[in-house]
Amino acid sequence: MPPESAVESHHFEALGTDCSLFAVGQTRGRLVEGEFWVRRLGVLLTRFTSDSELSRLNASAARWTDIGPDMESVLRAALRAYEMSGGLVNVAVLSSMLAVGYTRPLADGPAVAALDGVGPLPPLPDVLEVRDGGARVAVGTGIDLGGVAKGWMADRLCEALGPNSLANLGGDLMAVGDGPRGEGWPVGVGGVTLSLRNQGAATSSVRKRRWGELHHLIDPRTGLPARTGIEEVSIVASSGFEAEVIAKSALLLGPDIAPIYCAAHAMAWWLGGAHVR
């Protein structure tokens, strides 16, 4: 067995969740720079402050709005997620989020739900247009970037942290390189340890961010919280972003189709819930 290399690690809270950065052959200062980047992106991408770049875009009422390169990349990733998932991963979910009462950080408690009038989400390309340095959102719609942003950010962090690093943003993670022992990065997935090497992982669940019968994971086909019989999905794929898209899609597809879908698209998968066979 090769000798274990020293791993520098850094843990912090951001994006409303726990974040961890690991790297071999990097200084702690480099990881702290990663934290600053996460916090800066969090300020840009949150929908809970009125002056964030995302909130300004949501309020733009179909006018083209100037956006920075990071926002542009995340929005393009969201459009790609929509295509990859056949429309199941749709960030044009803001109206449903507000309808179920998710109007502020859940640490502050949910608001009263008002589900009358909630319906299927519009196709994302009808809602969101992106061009170089700008974007616009259709009138009466809005976007919430959610897990798509976290998976995308984990991938970008690993690019910045070097060839042997791991970034975990609230369970959406990317691991590059051979890890501390040359065998890949040991990562817990579905209760067991897997060695990830240039692979990402993500979990999609209706068990967290839940209040009463409602939760945050919206089914775009109904506009309501998903009820598919699968409660939680963890995925290993070629990137954190891809794992996030596959995890959410599998959960929405339900217990009959999800195993086939995962077998076609994922490298490893854990399906949890009472109806999973």
């Binding site: 690991f22 369970g171 060695s195 692979q199 979990t203 077998a263 490893a268 998968w269």
Partner: protein, 76 residues
């Protein structure tokens, strides 16, 4: 004699170049776990086990480990 020498040198150069190429390629794999294209990665040949209250399936491009996890994927 000179012709023989030229053939020997050419043979040695060929063998050397082939060996060096093989060593270089194996030492510079960009991603040893890279899947084949297209993006259909598995054909149902993963190993499935019951884990917690669900089923874990691990495809051939992921290796289980006996090491303690340094971190985990989880719902947040």
């Amino acid at each position: 004699m000179r012709l023989l020498l030229i053939k020997a040198v050419a043979t040695a150069l060929t063998i050397g170049a082939t060996t060096a190429s093989a060593v270089f390629v194996t030492a510079h794999l960009k991603n040893p776990a890279a899947p084949l294209q297209p993006a259909v990665l598995n054909t149902g040949n993963g190993t499935s086990t019951t884990s917690m209250d669900g089923t874990l399936t691990v495809g051939p491009s992921v290796q289980p480990s006996n090491a303690a996890p340094i971190t985990s994927t989880y719902a947040s």
